[in-house]
C-alpha cells in the first residue's frame, strides 16, 4: 500500500466532503432542519463548538475509506465511484433509514439525508480513486 497516497487521497476526499456538506446540508436543504431547532439538533454556538470533533472524525473515516480502496477495490475513478456508491448505500441503509426510525425527524429530511449520503460518498470515491496510486515497487 502507498501510505503517502492514501493520506493525500483522504485529505482531498475530506475537503470535497466538507464543501459538499456545506453546499447541500448548509444551504440546499438547510431549511428542512429548521423544524428541529433545540430538541433534536444542536443550534448556533453549541453546534459550532462541537464542529472540530466532526471534522476530525470525517477525516479519519475517509482515511479508512481510502485504506479499504487501496487494499484492493480496483484502480481509478470508476473503481472509486463504485466503492463510494457501495459506502453510500451502506450509510443510507444502516444510518439514514435507521435514524428515521429512532430520531424525531420527518420522512422528507430522512430521504434527503439518505440521498445525500449516496451522492456524497460516490464523489469521495471518485476523488480517492483519481488520487490513489499504488507504490511503484508493488506494481508489476
Amino acid at each position: 500500500m502507498n501510505y503517502g497516497r492514501v493520506l493525500g487521497a483522504a485529505v482531498a476526499g475530506a475537503l470535497l466532503f466538507f464543501i459538499y456538506g456545506f453546499l447541500v446540508h448548509g444551504l440546499l436543504i438547510a431549511q428542512d432542519y429548521l423544524p428541529y431547532p433545540v430538541g433534536v439538533y444542536r443550534g448556533g454556538e453549541d453546534a459550532k463548538s462541537h464542529t472540530p470533533f466532526g471534522l476530525a472524525g470525517i477525516f479519519v473515516a475517509i482515511l479508512v475509506f481510502a485504506t479499504i480502496f487501496a487494499k484492493g477495490s480496483g484502480r481509478g475513478a470508476g473503481a472509486g465511484a463504485r466503492l463510494g456508491l457501495l459506502f453510500g448505500i451502506f450509510m443510507a441503509g444502516a444510518f439514514a433509514a435507521v435514524n428515521y426510525g429512532t430520531l424525531h425527524i420527518s420522512g422528507k429530511l430522512a430521504l434527503e439525508i439518505g440521498a445525500s449520503e449516496l451522492i456524497e460518498w460516490t464523489l469521495v470515491g471518485i476523488v480517492v480513486g483519481l488520487l490513489y496510486k499504488p507504490s511503484a515497487t508493488t506494481t508489476r
Partner: protein, 142 residues
C-alpha cells in the same frame, strides 16, 4: 465474486448485528445513556413501529458491506480477515456516524462515547461473521 455467499454473509451478518446490538445496547448498561434524551430519540413504542424499515435497510446495508469485503478479499483465514475488515468498518462508523451525531444531535459526551464503544464492537463482530461465511468461488478444475 461469489454472489450467493455475499447474500448469505449479508443475511447472517444482519442477524449477528441485531443480536449483538440487543446485547450491547439493550442489556448492557449502555441503554441507560439514551434515557436523558427523550427530545432527540423516539419513545420505545414509536421506534417499534419503524422496526421493519430498520430491519430491511440494515439487511441491504450489510449485504453491501459483504460485497465490499468480497471485493477486497485477500485470501487467508476468514475469521481473521473478517475481524480486520470489521475493525476498519467500526472505526469508519465511529468517525463518520457517531462523530457526526455528537456534533449535530443534542446529546452528551457520555452517550457519544457509549455509542462509539458499542458500535466499534458491534461492527467488528459483524465483520467477523461476514469473514466466516464468505468464501470465494472455487476456480474451475482443469
Amino acid at each position: 465474486m461469489n454472489y450467493g455467499r455475499i447474500l448469505l454473509a449479508g443475511v447472517v451478518g444482519t442477524f449477528v448485528y441485531f443480536a449483538s446490538g440487543f446485547l450491547v445496547f439493550g442489556l448492557l448498561p449502555l441503554a441507560k445513556f439514551y434515557a436523558p434524551y427523550p427530545g432527540v430519540y423516539r419513545a420505545k413504542e414509536a421506534v417499534l413501529s419503524y422496526f421493519p424499515l430498520g430491519m430491511v435497510s440494515t439487511l441491504v446495508a450489510i449485504i453491501v458491506l459483504a460485497a465490499i469485503y468480497a471485493k477486497g478479499y485477500e485470501g487467508g483465514a476468514g475469521l481473521a480477515e473478517g475481524a480486520r475488515f470489521g475493525v476498519l468498518v467500526g472505526f469508519f462508523v465511529v468517525c463518520a456516524v457517531v462523530g457526526d451525531e455528537y456534533v449535530t444531535l443534542n446529546i452528551g459526551r457520555d452517550l457519544a462515547l457509549a455509542m462509539a464503544g458499542g458500535r466499534l464492537v458491534e461492527w467488528t463482530i459483524v465483520g467477523m461473521s461476514i469473514g466466516l461465511v464468505y468464501k470465494p468461488k472455487k476456480a474451475p478444475a482443469e
